[in-house]
């Protein structure tokens, strides 16, 4: 039997068995498209987090108070009051790899303006805080060093705060010069930040009020301690050097002996990124696991349909052998049939999978990522199942004597 006849025989059989054709293709399509869509969405979210983190500045370094064990008692990070303005000054004066540094203190409470109010937190920093965190002003100005030394009651606010407290304002520049009250203390708005949208964790990055750290310490917290210190390395490559340098300076400043652990923790954005990435790759893995289940379900579907149809078609196999088909011809026919079905289903599945991931990622506002490994893997799995279970029962049927196959009920 030549290849043209073989293709004709296989093609005729595909057209004749429409239900089988549709069900098999459906099985392949479901298996492949769900794997592609899920893995792509997982990778989309991973990429969107990466983009978010880099937009906050890849050379940003955060210094936090560390969990401290003293005499076996965990003091907890809120009780460990290790960071002071002296630390900020040491870093500012002595660290070669650090270009900017700012303390960070924050207080939570109610913000009021006229009849409008909202819950929020007031963050205090130095003049460099905005630049370190890659925040820029849409209108107005930042506070000055003088504001810091005078504990000025001024603040810079984000877009969400503007919307909440000044819903009637058309032009944000009208907000400049107005007062808002935080815990009853009036603060004059001197600047409004550009909108940054939600971050990867779904937090609104525009819901911020930033004031001089001295104002927050003296007027709201009543302490000299800092929650965090933000730094900026001179460039991304020097981040690690900056971390080492900061650690040495702080240990010295805190008079820690060699046996003592750090009472602070230095984190870079790169670390944040890898932490986030490990979280999202777990998510991707989870999605892939769910998708594999649908792949298996699709595969079992294909297997069943193929198995049942070959059993149904044993009489046909017997007849074909009775009129001169060799076992090899029968096998090849079924192999070609299932290969065509798997291939067609595979292509439709890939297209559908890509469409689904495109729709999903744009609905969730994430970048569209094509996962070639998911495409390849799911395609191979489905095609292999389809072809194997098309071939295997056909092989068993083709090994029967023609007369046994013909009499098959």
């Amino acid at each position: 039997m030549n290849i043209a006849n073989l293709l004709k025989v296989a093609w005729d059989a595909i057209l004749r068995n429409k239900t089988r054709t549709l069900l098999t293709i459906l099985g392949v399509v479901i298996g492949i498209s769900s794997v592609i869509a899920m893995v792509s969405l997982g990778q989309s979210s991973q990429q969107s987090i990466t983009e978010q983190v880099s937009s906050t500045g890849t050379n940003m370094i955060m210094i936090m108070r560390a969990n401290q064990r003293r005499g076996g008692v965990n003091m907890g990070s809120d009780n460990a009051q290790s960071l002071t303005i002296a630390d900020v000054n040491v870093i500012e004066k002595q660290a070669k790899y650090v270009s900017m540094v700012s303390p960070l203190v924050s207080a939570g409470g109610q913000i009021v303006s006229g009849n409008n109010n909202a819950q929020g937190s007031l963050q205090g920093g130095s003049t460099d805080l905005l630049e370190i965190r890659k925040l820029s002003l849409a209108t107005g100005s930042n506070f000055t060093k003088e504001d810091i030394s005078k504990y000025s009651k001024v603040c810079v606010i984000g877009q969400t705060v503007v919307n909440n407290l000044f819903p009637d304002v058309d032009d944000i520049s009208e907000v400049i010069g107005k007062d808002i009250r935080f815990k009853g203390v009036p603060l004059k708005v001197i600047g409004v930040l550009e909108s940054k949208g939600n971050n990867s964790m779904g937090q609104d990055q525009d819901d911020v009020i930033i004031a001089p750290y001295t104002t927050v310490q003296k007027r709201f917290l009543g302490t000299n301690y800092l929650q965090m210190i933000y730094c900026s390395a001179v460039s991304e490559e020097y981040c690690d050097d900056a971390v080492t340098e900061i650690s040495l300076l702080l240990r010295e400043n805190h008079r820690l002996s060699d046996e003592q652990n750090d009472d602070f923790e230095v984190r870079t954005q790169a670390e944040m990124l890898s932490m986030m990435n490990s979280m999202t790759s777990t998510l991707t893995l989870l999605l892939a696991a769910i998708a594999s289940i649908s792949l298996v379900v699709g595969g079992i579907g294909i297997m069943n349909i193929m198995y049942v149809t070959v059993t149904e078609r044993t009489k046909e196999i017997g007849l074909r052998m009775a009129i001169g088909a060799r076992s090899k011809d029968i096998l090849l026919q079924f192999l070609i049939e299932s290969a065509i079905l798997s291939l067609v289903g595979g292509l439709i599945g890939i297209i559908l999978g890509l469409l689904l991931s495109y729709a999903g990622s744009s609905a969730l506002g994430m970048p569209f990522v094509v996962s070639y490994s998911a495409i390849g893997l799911s395609f191979v799995v489905c095609a292999a199942t389809g072809i194997f279970f098309g071939w295997y029962p056909a092989k068993k049927a083709a090994n029967l004597d023609p007369i046994t196959a013909l009499r098959y009920e």
């Binding site: 046909e316 009129i323 060799r326």
Partner: protein, 262 residues
């Protein structure tokens, strides 16, 4: 009916006719569980070119078993089977496929047509397994075979659109499309009424007149009268082998009462 029964002397009658089928001491045992069923217990005979042989016998006498071996659908347990000079009992599976494809046409009691497939495609099917025939020749030969069985106007019909007799005609067209050296039929009229059976027998007679050699299994004596020779089996052995005073199936058809024509 003037039955003219005499010992088969076709050897003497047609000294020039070639023997196309020859079986020698053919045995076929089936093992079912611990028991052995001797379906054929040593059968010897031959069929010459142009013959129309009815293989007769009661149910279970081994008719189908023998015909399946003649059609290379089954292999004998022992003995020899020569078809067109080839010892089929020594052939491999693929060689048997080749013999079935080129030398044999088989007609089944239950037609065995492919569902949802048009007549012309059914008839083309055997030629698809013959690489030396191209698409054009395949179509021409299939059309010719359909014409021979009087089904040219049903070329695009599928089995569920045709009566049993019509389906059997399609099956006969499929069996003769490869110009077989022998046409084998197992109870080809078994599922049909009298009139349709006679019509089918008339078709077989016409094909035989055109030179097709036919082996025909039936247990109905009136159908066997339309053949030229009867081989009677009982319990896996040949009981009788005799020439028949052949009746014309067309004449029998004409003689059927008109009331049959409802």
């Amino acid at each position: 009916m003037g039955e003219n029964i005499k010992q088969n002397q076709s050897n003497q009658q047609q000294p020039t006719a070639k023997s196309i089928i020859r079986i020698e001491d053919l045995k076929r045992d089936f093992v079912v569980g611990n028991e052995v069923v001797h379906a054929l217990r040593g059968v010897t005979f031959d069929i010459k070119e142009g013959e129309f042989v009815a293989i007769m016998g009661t149910s279970g006498s081994g008719k189908s078993t023998m015909l399946n071996i003649l059609g290379c659908l089954d292999k004998p347990t022992s003995g020899h089977y020569y078809i067109d000079g080839v010892d089929a009992s020594q052939c491999s599976k693929d060689e048997l496929s080749f013999i079935r494809n080129r030398k044999i046409g088989f007609v089944f009691q239950s037609y065995n047509l492919l569902p949802r497939t048009t007549s012309i495609e059914q008839v083309e099917l055997p030629l698809l397994y013959n690489s030396s025939i191209n698409a054009k020749e395949r179509r021409e030969r299939a059309e010719h075979a359909l014409e021979l069985v009087g089904m040219a106007n049903r070329a695009n019909h599928t089995p569920n659109q045709m009566s049993g007799g019509q389906q059997q005609r399609i099956a006969i067209a499929r069996a003769i499309v490869n110009d077989p050296v022998i046409l084998l039929a197992d109870e080809a009229t078994g599922n049909l009424d009298t009139r349709t059976s006679y019509e089918i027998m008339s078709l077989f007679q016409k094909l035989n007149d055109q030179g097709v050699t036919i082996g025909f299994v039936t247990h109905e004596p009136d159908i066997a009268l339309f053949t030229k020779r009867q081989v009677m089996l009982r319990d896996g052995r040949i009981m009788k082998d005799l020439l028949v005073d052949t009746q014309s199936a067309q004449a029998a058809l004409d003689a059927l009462p008109a009331s049959d024509d409802y």
